[in-house]
Amino acid sequence: MKCHEIAESSDEFLDDKLQAMQRQKIQQHLASCTVCSATLAEHNEYRKQLSQFSVPEPAAGYYALLLRQARVNGEQQKQRHVARRYRLQGFAAAAVLACGILAAFNLGQSGLPSDASAEQFAQQTELVSEEITVLINVPADMLGARLALEFPEELIPHGIEHGQQLAWQLDLKKGANAITLPVLTSGSFAHGKKMLVSAQIEYNNKSKLFQLPVEFFSPHKARYDLVPRHRAHATYFI
C-alpha cells in the first residue's frame, strides 16, 4: 500500500468504516511508516478539535423571530407587487406590532400597577389587519398555564366582537414562547403612540402580571437585537 492511499482512506479508517482486509493493510503500513502514522495522528487531532467546536447559541426566541420576520417581510413584498391599490393612504406600510415580556419570570411576585393609557380610540371606518407578537420567556415548562391578554382600545383582537380581553390555556415551554395574534387596528393611528398590552400568567395557583409596551418596527429595516440573557428589560425589538 502506498502512502497516498493511506491519506485517502484516513477518514474511513478513523471512522472504522473499512473492510477488515483493507483495515489490516493500512495497519501494516502504519506500523512501518512513521510519516503516515504521524499524519494520521495529526488528522485525528484535527477531527477531534473540530468535533469540539460549537457555535455560540443565540438568544432564546431568536429563531422563531427570525422566521416570523422573514415571513412578514416576504408577505409584504408580495403584497406590494400584487395589491398596491389596497394600501391605505396615510398608513406607513409594513408596520408590525410587537411586544415582549421580561426575560426573567418569577412566579409568586405581585403584579405591577396597571396603568394602561386609555386614550380615546377615534372610530375609523377602515381597519387594517396587523399581527402582534407576544414573547414569553419562562424558566421551565409550564403546561396548562393560563394566559390572559388585555389590549388597549386601539388594537382589536381579530375574531372577537366584544371586549378587549382574551384568556386561554396553553402549554408554555421552557425558553421563549412566541405567540402571534392577528389584530385589527385603525389605518390612521400614529406610529409613535405609546400603547400597553397587559398580560397575566397563572400557573400552579400563582399569577404574575406584566405591562408590555407595544413597539413598532418596520420589517424592512427591522434589526431586533439579540435578546441579552441577563438584562431585565421588556423590549425585544425596535
Binding site: 495529526e42 487531532e45 484535527y46 478539535q49 427570525l66 422566521l67 422573514a70 375574531g159 439579540l226
Partner: protein
C-alpha cells in the same frame, strides 16, 4: 367563547413557512456563523437567505434532502456576498469582532478553541471555508457537498484536501518534524 377558540386555533397554527424551515434554522445559523465568523454577520446573511426561501416555498417543499437544499441557498448567498464585499473594505479581522457575549456563556477552554477555529476558517478562501466547514463540522457527505456547492466530486476533493491542509496549519496542528513531512 367559540370566537376565542377559533381565534386561537388560528393563532397557534404554525405557518407553513415556519413549519418547513424551523427544524433546520438552527443548522443554517450555525453554518452562517462559520462562514461569517461572528453572530451579527451570520444574522445578516441568514435574514437574506430566509427571505429568499420564503419566495421559494414550492421548490423547498419538493426538495429531497432539505438540509442540503437549504445549505445550497445559503452557500450561494454567502459566495455572492463575498464577491460584492471584495469591492468594499475588508472587515474580516477576527480581533475586531465583538464576541463578548460568547465569552460570557462559555467555558474559557471552549471559548479559546472556538476562537481558534473561527480564526482558522476566516483565513481560508470562501470556497475552502465552505467545503471544510460543511464536511468536517457540518457532517455533510461528499455527494451532498457536491450538490450544495455545485462542483464535480473530483474538484471538491481537491478543495477539501487543500482546505484541510491550510486549516491544520492555521490551527498549528504540526507536532511533527517538517522534514519528515516534506519527504512524503
Amino acid at each position: 367563547m367559540n370566537n376565542i377558540i377559533s381565534l386561537f386555533s388560528r393563532a397557534n397554527k404554525t405557518q407553513p413557512f415556519e413549519h418547513l424551515v424551523a427544524p433546520h434554522v438552527s443548522g443554517l445559523y450555525k453554518q452562517a456563523y462559520q462562514y461569517m465568523g461572528n453572530a451579527s454577520d451570520a444574522d445578516d446573511l441568514l435574514q437574506d437567505v430566509l427571505l429568499e426561501l420564503f419566495n421559494k416555498q414550492e421548490q423547498m417543499s419538493q426538495a429531497d434532502n432539505l438540509p442540503a437544499w437549504l445549505n445550497r441557498c445559503l452557500f450561494h448567498r454567502f459566495v455572492d456576498r463575498c464577491r460584492s464585499r471584495k469591492r468594499a473594505p475588508e472587515c474580516d479581522n477576527i480581533d475586531d469582532i465583538n464576541v463578548s457575549d460568547d465569552r460570557r456563556n462559555m467555558e474559557p477552554e471552549q471559548y479559546c478553541l472556538n476562537r481558534q477555529i473561527i480564526a482558522g476558517l476566516q483565513n481560508l478562501n470562501p470556497i475552502q471555508r465552505a467545503v471544510v466547514s460543511l464536511h468536517d463540522i457540518g457532517g455533510f457527505s461528499l455527494p451532498e457537498l457536491a450538490d450544495i456547492v455545485d462542483m464535480p466530486l473530483g474538484t471538491l476533493k481537491s478543495h477539501l484536501h487543500r482546505a484541510r491542509k491550510q486549516l491544520k496549519k492555521n490551527l498549528q496542528l504540526q507536532p511533527f518534524d517538517g522534514q519528515a513531512r516534506q519527504s512524503v
